[in-house]
Symmetry: D2
């Protein structure tokens, strides 16, 4: 079989870099072109010298006439607004699309509007006709729809962590939905590669902070996905924090157990819900979950605990924000969309220490 031909738009960012690292090891897909509006003409291995000899493709401008066009799939590793402007022309040619932003995470214009409000985007969606064709790209919830779709909105990194940590409890109605609190801690790479004063090394090496308290845009997709799953409107409290490490999201999730729920029922529900999900691993309360153990891999590690004194479920959910939270999920989605083994190119333990 010919290899699947991939184009990456926005290839120069961390999302592009992570995708390239994964495709190097993918047996059935290969990168044909790297497209970006910055650093045009440079080799990707000038930006990321560890790729030297592994991927030395140049960054091409989107309108470069020499740019290959015979892609089977295009990754939009771009910020909000790019995919909705440019995806439709690819889509019409039959190219499958995976978009890393919020542009295609909501499959109707009205729902998208609610998201756009949160990110301060006043413009209407530029490709509203595509929205009903799009699928929310979290394989553990939407594997079948992804398999049948040509347009996937890759989920937000915090959303992956929260949704995977909560879905079985919501699905099995084990917790009080209005009691949910998600306290997330992320490494700095989640903010991308553009330097800013907050992430300047001397300002960050010994500092942590909360930000966007009760106002982060990922709340919107978390509540929507959990609401669909639970069959009722769900509102959560979500507080993101930045801590001085590079890769990893650890989300501590609190929710009141319903009458009759206990740790055993919770464990059973999680194991059953994820029984076919290779990349989700369930741990008990007595096993320590340390974020470095998912660094560089596509796994989500989940530990289940109950605070007997207060009747609360406490879930700790761990991912690498650049892998299961971004490029890893994207490749997993691509595998599903093309009927490949879902884990193809993704079965790696990461690196320690």
């Amino acid at each position: 079989m010919d290899k699947i031909k991939i184009g990456i738009i926005g290839a120069g960012g961390y999302g592009g870099c992570g995708s390239i690292e994964l495709f190097y090891r993918h047996p059935d897909a290969e990168i044909r072109a790297l497209i970006d509006t910055q650093d045009v003409g440079k080799s990707i291995s000038d930006l990321y010298p560890h790729l030297k000899g592994f991927c030395d493709l140049p960054l091409m401008a989107p309108d470069n006439p020499d740019c290959p066009e015979d892609f089977d799939a295009v990754f939009f590793a771009t910020p909000d607004g790019v995919g909705q402007k440019e995806a439709s022309s690819w889509f019409e040619k039959g190219v499958k699309i995976i978009d890393f932003s919020g542009d295609f995470r909501f499959n109707d214009p009205e729902t998208y509007r609610g998201y756009a409000d949160r990110i301060g985007r006043t413009q209407a969606h530029l490709s509203p006709e595509l929205l009903p064709r799009s699928v929310y790209g979290l394989a553990e919830l939407h594997r079948k729809e992804i398999a049948n779709s040509d347009l996937v909105g890759n989920p937000g990194c915090f959303a992956v962590s929260c949704i995977l940590g909560l879905s079985p409890a919501i699905d099995s109605k084990l917790i009080e939905p209005e009691s949910i609190i998600c306290d997330a801690k992320t490494g700095v790479s989640g903010a991308g590669k553009t330097p800013n004063p907050t992430f300047h090394y001397p300002a960050r090496y010994e500092s942590m902070n909360a930000y966007k308290i009760s106002g982060h845009q990922h709340v919107y997709e978390i509540e929507r996905e959990l609401g669909i799953l639970g069959g009722q409107e769900i509102k959560i409290t979500f507080t993101p924090h930045v801590v001085p490490l590079t890769r990893g999201i650890l989300t501590t999730i609190y929710a009141r157990l319903k009458e009759g729920s206990d740790l055993e029922r919770v464990k059973d529900a999680y194991r059953a819900f994820y029984r076919d999900d290779l990349f989700v691993r369930i741990f008990g309360s007595d096993e320590p979950l340390v974020s470095v153990n998912v660094r560089g891999s596509n796994f989500c590690n989940i530990s289940l605990n109950v605070d007997e004194r207060t009747g609360r479920l406490i879930v700790v959910s761990l991912i690498d924000n650049l892998m299961k939270g971004q490029a890893g999920s994207a490749v997993q989605n691509m595998n599903i969309m093309f009927g490949l083994e879902e884990s193809s190119g993704l079965l790696h333990p990461g690196m320690y220490p």
Copy 2:
């Protein structure tokens, strides 16, 4: 006036080191002797070479006959069990005591029993007669009792962060007590200077984790202090996390606002409660709180936020675990016990970057 003469027992640990750094700048107190059971005979500046020329006292064994005894105050910078064994002989001589462990944080044997159970200590308290004389050493709650006491149980670092973050809301009955969740993130120094695999540099530099989920011993003193203040039993959920930095505790506190409470009332209550407390600073939702800003100082920075969508108060409480969470509070207590200016030796901004 003669300077207050201080002895530090357990001087070789981080609590001792932090105290020495503070006393160097203290106008009215001076260290007379450093006592420890480890590294006996070494100079403290061999252990902590930055102190060379500032404090070169030797570490003396507790039973060294040459050890000075004419202390006005003794700091027990020791783990649980030491103070309760050794404090009484000093106490009887009229020496004022500040103990860094849980030994004197509870002023009756029965309450202490509850704490001892949590730390797996089966023995009864060794100086039960002293317990009624002891005061919980959080100046912002117990300034007057501390001023009149000769025996202070310095609070746990997490407890300082949680109690200061919650007291005004409890005192003014603005929140539902059964809804309180404290999600704490601490730097590594909170675990002390003894190396272990978890805090080995390669294991920690890029890793975070939750631990003692719903089982940390500081919960006990938090619930007790809040319960006394609120006039009712209070049970909280508390989850500590370790993140890869050295100094700082950031606790994110969640609680449901009572009917009629709002951000303005909350702010008023906090400002009023802490109007005489130099070391507590209240910030609004729009001001970023970054942990490095309290590093090396005795301040507790608190930001107040309300999640309107879910009706929750979200308090972010920041301290340096080695200062306001340990040695800083100890010196503050000593100042109060001796009738000195409460901030004496403590008015320093820390260091940046």
Copy 3:
């Protein structure tokens, strides 16, 4: 072809962990047993949870009768003294040996004696008869001997960095041998996984230091290899430093250029010397070498510079101490010993950021 069957002795350390990560991706070799004297009975994935599902073999005691013995090769990822005691019994059975310590880096007892003196080992070598059969395992210098050998002494991490950085200049007689100074900076993982006060996170996160000034044991093998190559005795000054990162050795090498040498001749010599060496990459003075670019990979990046004002060659040599400096070189040696593609299992770019 059947896969090569590997046993790893001392599997629980960083050297074992790194080897396991590499073998997971190796097409022609597989691990049959993990042997250690510590943590016996535990699964390797209990020690290193990122390996869960990738390698869950138990750690077996060396004398466990159930331990498989049908190895084609054994890695001694053990400290000095273990291989020389235990290797001969394997060697006699025809098992190929790669030892990570200094035990087999010197192929006669007298030379070994010089090394043993430096590490304070008074005992004579326990398998002197094996020494003439051993080869120094730096493929770029001894590829042919390694191919014909059944016993390889894997080089020290600092030695890899220094020898690769100097060999072409020595070989082509471009520098004054008595003028060589190697100033090495290493990450903390070089000291292994056993916690100690120096590498406790709070002691290290913001600290660097020189150590073993002019007394590090790797000097011995560096001088020996360079001496053989240069056909004369060579004495260097070597100072190791520890800096607060986990993986990487950056060695800055200074030497006076001989009359008539210049940057162009140096570049030509290095390119010629390494023309068949996939894992050595030569860079000019204008290309920045950053250590993270070799993190997790088996490459040695070398930049060549001349200080015209003083007539000195300045070579910057970069490796990942756990890869080209340890497990990566070991697998590279194994590939050569078994006639496999030298880069088999090793062609990975590492991970960024």
Copy 4:
């Protein structure tokens, strides 16, 4: 006595911040105004919130008519080019000047020209008439001239480290001047507070590199000062490196001992040379020098070692680049210029851990 009134120009950078931290503790000087061209109108404690309550002065534009002018001394904590443009008007009013850049480190236009060439500055010095009035501000070499001067060029951070590490050996003619190599490792704060891709946290947390190999501008002042001291032209090789920590410069200095020199003579020479220098501390080979031990303090720690095998002196010189390497030296110079105790405001051990 009235306090000395200080104005700081360029107050918003790390040099300004460090000076403010020091003046807060200075008994005889106080800051009257903070001047900058960026963040004008903001309080300094908005930029550096740890200063809240300690210094809340606004940043004023240089041309603000409300800006106080009755300074006794002005600190130019500004990059090259500012002081030479603006200092003369202050100087004429009798205000003492300390400039943090290279503008006044060379006391004649021709020497300055050599420096300007290295930093790519084509313009002639803007205040050549001031140059003969200026003094190189390293107190340990020029205490008397500083005491008699109104214009001091504060030394470069690397220069402080190298010059203090070499001066006694040069002065006593113990080493071969043409053999000197300085290998410097610096923390990231040396590059200032402006974010850039190289110092973005994810790019730096696990990376080190050499830069400006044989081309750093501080070489110029090092060679000049050592040349004056040694009475002959001296050319050194100097390579700076950045390592992932925030504060600290560790320079490892290599030089061939002259016939007849040995470690004892070296130690004697260093102790004699620095006998009146409170801020230089000499250590023997057996005492470990760790950079965190000078963090936040004005000390330079120096360890002396001889590599007997190669006849080289190896000096390790440690400073905090923001203290003895910048603001600390500036305050020390100010103390000397005003006839105060040289250590006034500077006697602090820093902070650990």
